[in-house]
Every structure is written in structure tokens, then in C-alpha cells.
Symmetry: C2
Subunit: 499 residues, 2 copies
């Protein structure tokens, strides 16, 4: 999902400078107040090589009183540290009450660069994730504030920065062999980073992703993240109110992370190519359908997207050549009385496919974090909790051997309007458009925020989101079929290999 992050984010330079100054002054006052209130703070800088961690740490500490913080640069373990449990050296560095500890790289080393460089076994990595979550939760429960920042740049930008550093002897040493290798195998290393973010983006210690192409923009986002969190902690503590995990502020407004804004909706396909491709893809899927039955592989396909985004059409093309005894389409509407009397995931759980079958959900359990969130059908803490609950459910189902894909059918607001009007003006399509659709449309921006958050928090290695550029229906339908076929083929291959 990181690849979808809009890295072109920037702001007017003058505006940036003004915000930076303002935020810096606030931070300076805040730091002193946090010291008086004896709040211990840990700020973690992680991210890709040459993303600018050093520079940003420098800018962040400028407004602070140097007696109140310490910066730790976390390199490879020393001989002494190697002889202790992994977390020992970090326990040694937790700040005392009222102090700030800033980490340039941190306890995430093992699951990032070290995992890449030393090929640590997966079992150990999973255990480390668990240890890290426990570590951070214990500190949170003990009153520590943990602010985690992940600096992200693209492969090309990284290459450019490395090349510039390599040009001069004075800076060339800063680019290690590992850095070069990680740039070369960018995709692989990015996967480790994404898994790390998913595994450790908890409510008690959430990650803030910093688009770090524009250094000034990054500086503003970082200082705002730190400032707003400290402000929250100070307010709560001076008012003697409990710190609730689900209330911890995350980036918002202009600093909201966008997966959707990077989507290229110009992608299209002509009718002839479409016909030709569709024919081949459907036949291929028909064949694979019998293969998954033979190999007893279950498949779960979830469809979400804007109203009139093309969910129905895509599902129709997907199923038209399939044996109906081997798949089921489950439309999801507002829950009925019996469904309401159960856990919100129950109605989806009971429809999960058995081995060898395909279950297609037309709208899904993600309603919890979209319509239910926006319409207030559930509490804030309920939809915030749902990201993890959904990831856990999908993980369990994936572990049992299922292929899981989730499609976001994406169109822009103009295209939606065009389709709505077309529906209204075509008698055979009028049933498809209601007043509610127009009302939902008015909440486009709210939905956009919710969808962006959903995509980032629930796109996992075991159940990825696929964003479908949907302005052109031909392109969209082909992409859906191709994605399904590719995922099934990969699974079949790996099943056959382990046989």
C-alpha cells in the first residue's frame, strides 16, 4: 500500500515557514510543560535510507531545551549488547519522567535492515513483532508517550539521493553496501517495511507516515505530529483524565495520508482489446475454478467502491463462465434483525467459503469502517477497533489456506455524477439510483478520508487491497479478472510445490 502513497505532497514555501515557526514555538513551551508534568516521551524515527532522518531530527530538536532530551543513534549491537536479550539495550535507554528520548532507528532494526541483511528466520521475526508490541504496550501502560514516525520516499528519489551522496568523497561513506542493495531490491525491502507497519501500528503506539520527498513538508508534518500528541497528553494529565488508547490523535486534515490521490484514473482500454482479453481471461478462470476445486483451495473476493463504481459489472464478468455449484455471491445490505442480534462479523463469518469454493462479497465487512463510521451507526471506538478485528479475521482465514483479495472500485466525483445521471435517464437502470445515492455523494470527502485510512490499515500481505482504476469500465473489469487469476495461479503453484 505504501507505493500508493502520494509522494508529491508539498505546500507553499512561505506557508510552510510560517507553520514551522509557529509550531516550533508551541513545541518549545510544551516541552517545558511536559517536563514539569513529569511526562516521559520517546520519539522514534524509522524509514527508508536517505529519507532524511538525521536532518529531520535536527530540525525537530532546534526549538527544544537541550537539557530535556537525548538523541540515541541505534547502530548494530555492540559486543556487550549482543550478550544480552534484544530489548535490553532499549530498556536501558528509556527516559526518566519528564525527559524526551529520540531514537534515530530503534528496536525496529531487527525486523527491517537486519532482517534484510541477515535473513533472520520468519519465526524469529514474528516473535520480535510480538515482543515489540508488548514492549510498547508496557511502556504506554506505564505512562510513557511513544511517537513513531516513518519517513518514506520513492525508489527513484532514493536513488537520486544516493547518487548525489556518492558523487563526493566527503559524503560517499554514508551510502553503505546495504543501502545500495536495498535500493536495488526496493520492492522486497518495502514489503518488510509494510509488514512491520501492519504488525506494530497499534492504538497505543500508532505510526505516522511522513511523505519525505519535500523536506520542508516533512518537517512540518513531523513537528505537528509531535506537538499535537504532547498537547493531548498534557491536557489529559493536567485535567487528571485517563489517556484512552482509542483517543490518541493521529495525523489529520492536510496531513492525512492519501492512497487514493495517487491513483491514475486516465487508464483506459478500447472495446476491441477488451473483448479479446475478456474472452481469454474468462476461459482461463473457468479452468482455474476446477483446479481450485481439485486442490481444495477456498477463495474470498470482497468488492467495495464508490456508488456506481462498477462493482456489479465486474462481479458479473467474473462469474459468467463459472459453475454455479462452485461459487456464491453474497450481497451485503443493512443488517436484518437476526444479524443485528449478533456480533457484526457473524454474518460474514458464516458465509466464508468451504475449501474449493469461491465466495464473492458485494460490499463487505468493511462497511464497519465506512458507512457505519460516517453515519454514526457504531461508536468511534468500535470502528477504530475494527481495523485490527478485520485483519485478525482475514489472517485466520488466510492461514487456513484461503486466497483473499479485496477490490476498491475507484472513480472520480465527475464520473460518478455522469453515471448517476445516465441511470436516472435510462428507464431500465432507474432502479439502480436512489435519493440515498445522492445523499452519500454529498459526503464524498468524508468517505475519502475513511477509505484512505481503511486501505492503509487493512491492506496486508495475506489479504491485499487492489485499487481498481474504474473510470473506464473495460480497463476495470480486465484488471479485476487479471488480479484474481494471478492470485489463484500463484497459490496453485505454491500448493503444488509443497505437495
Amino acid at each position: 500500500m505504501l507505493e500508493k502513497v502520494d509522494l508529491s505532497k508539498t505546500m507553499n514555501k512561505k506557508e510552510l515557514k510560517a507553520i514551522l515557526k509557529q509550531e516550533g514555538e508551541k513545541l518549545s513551551v510544551l516541552q517545558r510543560a511536559c517536563r514539569t508534568s513529569q511526562i516521559p516521551v520517546m520519539i522514534v524515527f524509522e524509514g527508508l535510507g536517505a529519507a532524511g532522518k538525521g536532518t529531520q531530527i535536527n530540525r525537530l530538536i532546534q526549538p527544544m531545551d537541550p537539557r530535556g532530551f537525548v538523541v540515541y543513534s541505534i547502530d548494530e549491537e555492540t559486543k556487550e549488547e549482543k550478550r544480552h536479550p534484544y530489548l535490553w539495550r532499549f530498556w536501558n535507554k528509556i527516559p526518566e519522567n519528564g525527559k524526551i528520548a529520540i531514537f534515530d532507528r530503534s528496536w525496529y532494526r531487527r525486523v527491517l535492515t537486519e532482517r534484510f541483511d541477515h535473513h533472520i528466520p520468519d519465526k524469529e521475526i514474528q516473535e520480535t513483532f510480538q515482543d515489540i508490541r508488548s514492549f510498547e504496550e508496557q511502556l504506554f501502560d506505564g505512562g510513557y508517550v511513544i511517537i513513531k514516525l516513518f519517513l518514506y520516499i520513492s525508489k527513484e528519489e532514493q536513488k537520486k539521493r544516493f547518487d548525489k551522496l556518492l558523487e563526493q568523497k566527503e559524503t560517499a561513506w554514508r551510502v553503505s553496501e546495504g543501502d545500495k542493495k536495498r535500493n536495488k531490491e526496493f520492492k522486497k525491502y518495502l514489503k518488510y517495511n509494510e509488514e512491520m507497519l501492519q504488525q506494530t501500528d497499534t492504538d497505543f503506539a500508532p505510526w505516522t507516515i511522513i511523505e519525505a520527498t519535500d523536506k520542508d513538508y516533512a518537517a512540518v508534518k513531523i513537528i505537528s505530529a509531535v506537538r499535537s500528541r504532547l498537547q493531548y497528553e498534557l491536557d489529559k494529565r493536567t485535567q487528571n483524565q485517563p489517556i484512552k488508547k482509542e483517543e490518541i490523535p493521529t495525523a489529520s486534515g492536510q496531513f492525512q495520508l492519501g492512497a487514493l490521490s495517487g491513483v491514475d484514473l486516465e487508464k483506459s482500454m478500447d472495446r476491441e482489446t477488451y473483448k479479446e482479453k475478456m474472452d481469454k481471461l474468462q476461459k482461463r478462470l473457468e479452468f482455474l475454478h476446477s483446479e481450485i476445486y481439485r486442490l481444495q483451495i477456498p477463495v474470498v473476493l470482497g468488492f467495495e467502491g464508490w456508488d456506481a463504481g462498477g462493482k456489479g459489472g465486474a462481479i458479473k464478468r467474473l462469474t459468467s463462465h463459472l459453475d454455479p455449484r462452485g461459487y456464491a455471491v453474497h450481497p451485503t445490505q443493512a443488517p436484518n434483525d437476526i444479524e443485528k442480534a449478533h456480533h457484526y462479523l457473524w454474518r460474514f463469518w458464516i458465509n466464508m467459503p468451504k475449501n474449493g469454493h469461491i465466495a464473492i462479497f458485494d460490499r463487505t465487512w468493511y462497511g464497519r469502517v465506512m458507512v457505519e463510521r460516517i453515519e454514526g451507526f457504531c461508536q468511534e471506538e468500535e470502528w477504530k477497533r475494527a481495523y485490527q478485528e478485520i485483519n485478525q479475521m482475514e489472517r485466520h482465514i488466510a492461514n487456513s489456506g484461503a486466497v483473499i483479495l479485496k477490490f476498491w472500485m475507484h472513480i472520480d466525483k465527475e464520473e460518478q455524477k455522469r453515471r448517476f445521471l445516465e441511470r436516472q435517464n435510462t428507464p431500465s437502470k432507474q432502479w439502480k439510483i436512489t435519493d440515498e445515492d445522492w445523499r452519500n455523494r454529498e459526503k464524498w470527502e468524508q468517505y475519502e478520508v475513511a477509505v484512505n485510512e481503511m486501505l492503509l490499515r487493512t491492506s496486508t500481505t495475506y489479504a491485499p487491497w487492489i485499487i481498481v482504476e474504474g473510470n473506464n469500465k473495460y480497463f476495470a473489469r480486465v484488471k479485476v479478472l487479471e488480479s484474481v487469476i494471478q492470485a489463484i495461479e500463484e497459490r496453485i503453484k505454491s500448493v503444488k510445490e509443497t505437495e
Copy 2:
């Protein structure tokens, strides 16, 4: 730790009958009230074979309105169920609001009998524990009440019951080959059960252990556990108060589980045997000390116990032949100002030994759940959370390769008095006894409750508690040395095997 549970628990028969009747009436009213309040309830019966799950379920449902509950008997998966994710069949059985679902065996099958019968790989077992925790937490967060009961009998009692069932054709079929095997390999199966209890005894779904030798006693404890939990839920919900994980009632008073009451304090040893043994053991440990240095194995030994329980004497005998460059004794007192300004585990973390070294803690991090709990030095939710935090810390250290043992130096109240008086009357020992010791002694019963809970919640496979029968100092010191030697020898053997 289960082996230490006092299974002789019983009560006056007349009293039992009276309580059963009373509780039954209350339960009957409560069930109806829970239905009106639309509370969904899940009651899980797990435990050893022939512990009486069927009988107890029968007794529990007697006072209930049969339209309000359903009993599920969870056997091996059917063919249909096998084709779905493991948790699917349990999601299908979650009750709707206002109903009670009772499970005779449950989603714990895989980590208990199936693990024993089918030798499921450890990785899968650990994943299942994680899935179970997520499942129960999701249900809890969704408003479900989960009551988990574990029925426990001894190996001998189980054998007796099996033999009785086998005597007659009509009942013989109820004893399976698996049952017989589990009785034969009781210790191994018990370990699986203990691991299960540790891994899934969460604050949102705690286990209640039922001493099931006396069936009437067990029935009363079960009905009381169910009744008190439902009462709590009903009160909170009708008053619109939040259900807090850390407030969920667990067994108390006469139903408190005792690990200490089963300890045989008569164990003793004469001076001559002691001298002879001690000499050999100390030499052996001296040799092993150089071995662990050579193999770079760290060792953590924690000592807790009653005042005058013999901690100091045992530590002295343990270290007298050791090279001081290879071990350190860390006495734990009230925290100083710097320690107070850090997380409560910090001062222990920084003293964890490096590879090849021994760290001995004279009093430990368990102060959190004893003195801090009883004296109110920390909040209730803090010490309740500490069990898990401590287990997590010890697990991380054990995973890094350390041997961890924790000793509870146990004496009875009379013996303590004798030793206190001896200290007062011996000039060279007077410094060892203060007014505070006498004050602590007055809280003996409170400490007993806290110690029992601590032993049960924190004795793990990777860091077991060893209860040392301490009335006789010779016996106690020898047991400490023997335990340390045995644990180190086992570790050395397994390290050499994997080399």
C-alpha cells in the same frame, strides 16, 4: 503449577446443599434478567477426562429456563467443518443477544486433545493461541460474556474414575484410547493444559479452575462463578456503566485457588546428610558455572518468600563456591528516586545478566504483585496488568537463551514467629528484625491470597516457580541447589544437542 492445586477441597454437605439451592434460585432469576437485557453469554467447560464436565453442565442448567440456552458438545470436526477455517464452526455457534451458549469442550480442542493425539506442530499451536485470544477479545469487545471453567482432578482420581467406567459394558465406551493414553502420560498432557491456561488466561476472558474431586464442591464453585459474573454484567449494564476488563470478578474467598495449601512443610533433612549433599552440590555447581560461561548461557534466579523464609541463607550456599566475576547478587529494596522516575521493570531489566553470567535477585519484580498490591503502592489495574507484563519480560529473556528460575521460600506462620523471636534474642541477628517485619506478619492472610494468585499466573514453562518447603533449612537449601543444577544441566544438554 496445577499439580500444587489443593484437590482435597470440600465443604460440609449440608452447607453445600443450602448454597446450591440459594445460588440456583439466584441464577434462575438472573438468566431471565440477562435475557431482558439482551446479554449474550458463552460458558465454556474444559478440563481433564472424567473430571465431570457432563454432570456439571447438567447441574448448572437445572435452574435455567430451557428456552434461553443451548448446549453444544464439541467433538472432532465433521467433514464439512474440516473444509472451513478452524474458528468457523464456533462463529456459527455464537449466541444471539439474550441467549446462553454452553460448550462441552470448545475451540480449545486443538490445543489440548488434538495437540496430544495428532502431534500438531508448535508453530500452529502458537498461532491457534493467538487466534483464540483474538476471537475472545473480539467477542468481549462486542458485548459477549465469556465464562471459562477448567475442571481439574489428579492422575490417581482420574484412573479410579476410568476404572470404574470400564468395569461395566454400559459405561466402558465412554473411556477412549486417547483417554487412557492421556492418563498414562498425565504429566505431558498436564503441561499442554498448563500452557493453554497461561496463554489464554486474559483479563477479558479469565479461566476459573474448578477443583473437581468433590462433585458437590465443584458444582457450588461453578454456579457461584457463573452467577457472580452474570450479576456483575447485569449491574453494570442496567446502570449504563462500562465493563472494564480489569474489573471482571474472579473466584474469591472460599473459592480462592490454593497452591500453597498443598505444600508439605514437614519435609526435612538431618545435618549429616545435609553436609554431605551440600558439599557435592556446591562442587557440581562450581563446575557448571564454568560450563555456562563457556557455552555463554545466562542464568536468572529470583528469590521471594516469607520474611525469615531463608532467602539469604539459600543464596549464601548457592554462591559460596562461585567465581565472583561470573555472578552478581542484586538485593531489591524500596525504589530510590531515579528508579521511581522510570518504569517499574526498568531497574530489573538493566540488571539482567549477559550471556554466561548468573544474576541472583534477592526479592524481585514480583514485589509489584505482592507488597505493592497489598500496601496500595500501585493501582489495582497496575498490579493486575503486571502478571502479563512479567510473563512477557521473562519470555523475552528466556527466548534469548536464559535459564530462569523463581523460588518461593515457604514456611508456616508458626515457624516464622519462632525465627523472629530467635532473631530478637540473638544479638548478632537483631539487625535482621524490625517492627515492619511484625507488621507484615499481621497481613499474612492477605499475602497468602496474593502469593497464590502470583504462583498460578506466572509459573510458566519458560520461567517456572519452585516452591521450596522451608521449615527445615537444610532441606530447603539442598532443594534450591538441586533445582538450579538440574535446570542448568538440562539446558547444557539441549545446547550441546543443537550444536
